[in-house]
Symmetry: C2
Subunit: 239 residues, 2 copies
Amino acid sequence: MAIITRDVDYEHDGVALRGQLALDDATDGPRPLVLVSHAWAGRSPFEDDKARALAELGYAGFALDLYGAGVLGNSTEENSALMTPFIEDRALLQDRLRSALAAARAQDEVDPGRCAAIGFCFGGLCVLDLARCGTDLRGVVSVHGLFMPAANVAGTPITAKVLALHGWDDPMATHEQALALTQEMTAAGADWQLHVYGNTMHAFTNPAANDPDFGTVYDATADRRAWQSIRDFLAEVLA
Amino acid sequence: MAIITRDVDYEHDGVALRGQLALDDATDGPRPLVLVSHAWAGRSPFEDDKARALAELGYAGFALDLYGAGVLGNSTEENSALMTPFIEDRALLQDRLRSALAAARAQDEVDPGRCAAIGFCFGGLCVLDLARCGTDLRGVVSVHGLFMPAANVAGTPITAKVLALHGWDDPMATHEQALALTQEMTAAGADWQLHVYGNTMHAFTNPAANDPDFGTVYDATADRRAWQSIRDFLAEVLA
């Protein structure tokens, strides 16, 4: 077995985007698809590695791109400037996410009927938004994601199963926001789960996170538990 | 492979108690121990089945007994009468739980250095109490457990890893109590996790539960997810 990767170029609203597809070449036939939605910096080696890890599990992993081919922030200011337009225009965010899904779904190696999405930090908000706007996915996993609801699609029934993996000391997703998420998901009729990790901050899966004052700290134990829960969830929803 | 079971008689405070040990006879050498703490009715086929399922995973499963050999409630009134003395005297409960652990740990097939506990409903409170009183266990899992803290051991450091599997619509463990549990576990220095299942009531692992007005309803999906999380947790803490 070997993991192969391939750039996938697509376009949305005049912006040239570039995702990366990862596959195990020992697998025959169409694979279930798992999108990987990037954190606020943009599509980086972190997300590409997750797509490869998903390929090792037998899925077609697809690290999507929201910002434009090669665009990657290098500071909190740059990252914030890249993310903010999408936080301020959730319809734009949702449309762009759907363009990534369509591009990935169209690949020959993908089973278009078995698709899920995972996302980290801002990417967690993104995959929740895919669920919130009624996208036809089997399931989504938000990993230390942001929980702000999307007013533009409020009231839309959620058919994707939802799993949120959440550090209880995450200052970017407060206890009040976590509780609001449970209410929102229930009201939308979602099959939802929230796994809370004690003594865990934002960005706990990112080995480079080491800024307790900012609220971002890697936690190897929570990272390992989160990956196990992602595996279990994908095995359930993509069976 | 065959699962064998054996009654284990023990005694606490003048009360004759009878647990059941379950083992895979194909396993050699001492196995990690997993206690199964019963719901409010007492040790029943439900808990014995869980001990056998744990034996199938390679553990020594031990369905403990808090009430007395053969004592099993047959109505909510009887169950409540059996449980209440222990809720009102947490020190008695904790002592009795430790007597069960000691009896199980003394069995030849058990590795006394690798022990964990799981419990259902009242049994969830029991395994949390084992953790709360500083018992030397690798981990405990509360499954739709009750969350009331134990004043007699408040402030004791918790060394066992803690996982609580919780239905968000459980009227016997309210949102406020779940939030209080997160505060209590953090203050006690515990490595803790809380997995919340949406649209899920109390007793969700019990196929006989079917009383939405009382707040107890079986949920096959939550049951399956909970068992997977128990497996993952035990594999982590008993490795």
